[in-house]
Assembly symmetry: C2
Homo-oligomer: 195 residues x 2
DNA sequence: CCTCCTCTAGATTGATCGCTCTAGCGATAG
DNA sequence: CTATCGCTAGAGCGATCAATCTAGAGGAGG
């Protein structure tokens, strides 16, 4: 049974999301996970770094599921974009501005400190980009334009999270979402024409 | 003479920018600043937190100067936007993807941990927003639209930094800058009309 | 000259860090 | 039954953390 291992990964992912990598201690992780301390190094002989890499990939995969979960039921792409940002804003308020992107804080902390963790974050971001690109391609956009729109959407979302958490306001998520929604609208209206 | 104090603040700002708040130790700060350890707590009796708050405000004020420095000499707003993102990308590459936003990492780390530091980051972001808003207003946009465009631009920049550092690629800065440039272009073309 | 005060200088503190180690529990196999 | 093995359990390691403390250097004012 790997229930203990799962609890450790889940607790790590949540703590890293809210506090970041460096502010989260292994003692705190096992306490939060209600797991014995020895189990952490039994399952993760590579220590905190290996555990964080797995937590990043796991929470990244979970967050990626939000993309189809929001966009598929939406009547159109633009509504999907608006609902994606609105949902992110709502969840941020519900958690008192603690739950934003699950890996952004870790990504900034480690991108010049741990190549292993930087690569894990890069893989997650690339995975999100591919998922979003496929979705936009399904709406008739060229692969290049679809990728650009996805990257722009993710950048707007990540940056809006940074501003929103510091300002304790959902305003950045609102305006960023609206800018992306209108950009997507225009891309669809223009169709496959290349500028 | 406050040269020692200044060196401490400058060294802190640079280390926080590259490593974040939690990964930077006070010993490392005084070593980097070539300052005696005792001086740190002489000038900053509030300790690391007070020092970080001042470093955030100082580097935030410095970075704000980049806005007019890039936009004023530009022939038009859209060119200014493109040059701003292109300059950020160039500096990122020059520093091997270490020097992005001076306060973003700290902002994410502390926004749920230290109210003092969160407020310092919020003040800096709000100051940037006001500076950008004034600039867009000068181009004939309404105050509301100018503020929205500024927030969208900053969010796109911050998010593109997150993606760029993790992916070690300037692609996010390129596409985010282009989306903002075209959004600004359209806002100007539409003029003061309200949607 | 001496006194005062700002700043330098670093040893030291207690707490906490990530991690290692040994001991033993409990289920399963022979 | 015993033996094995995955996992639990936590004491304790050296290192490092932010911060405090005392002592003195160095210049200014009297």
């Amino acid at each position: 049974m790997a229930a203990t291992r799962d609890r450790i990964v889940d607790a790590s992912a949540e703590l890293f999301r809210r506090q970041g990598y460096n502010a989260t201690g292994v003692k705190q992780i096992v306490t939060e996970a209600q797991a014995p301390f020895g189990s952490l190094y039994h399952f993760f002989p590579g220590g905190k770094e290996q555990l964080a890499a797995e937590a990043v990939r796991t929470s990244g995969a979970m967050y990626e599921l939000l993309i189809p979960a929001v966009f598929d039921p939406a009547p159109d792409l633009i509504t999907g974009v608006r609902q994606f940002f609105a949902g992110a804003a709502a969840h941020l308020v519900e958690t008192d501005y603690e739950d934003a992107c699950p890996i952004a804080t870790v990504a900034l902390e480690v991108s010049s400190a741990s190549e292993i963790l930087r690569q894990a974050c890069a893989d997650v971001f690339e995975s999100w980009i591919e998922a979003g690109t496929g979705m936009y391609e399904g709406a008739g956009l060229t692969p290049e334009r679809a990728r650009e729109l996805t990257i722009a959407m993710l950048a707007a979302l990540e940056g809006a999270f940074v501003l929103a958490r510091a300002l304790r306001s959902t305003e950045p998520l609102g305006v960023a979402g609206e800018v992306i929604a209108q950009t997507v609208q225009r891309a669809i209206d223009e169709g496959p024409r290349r500028p």
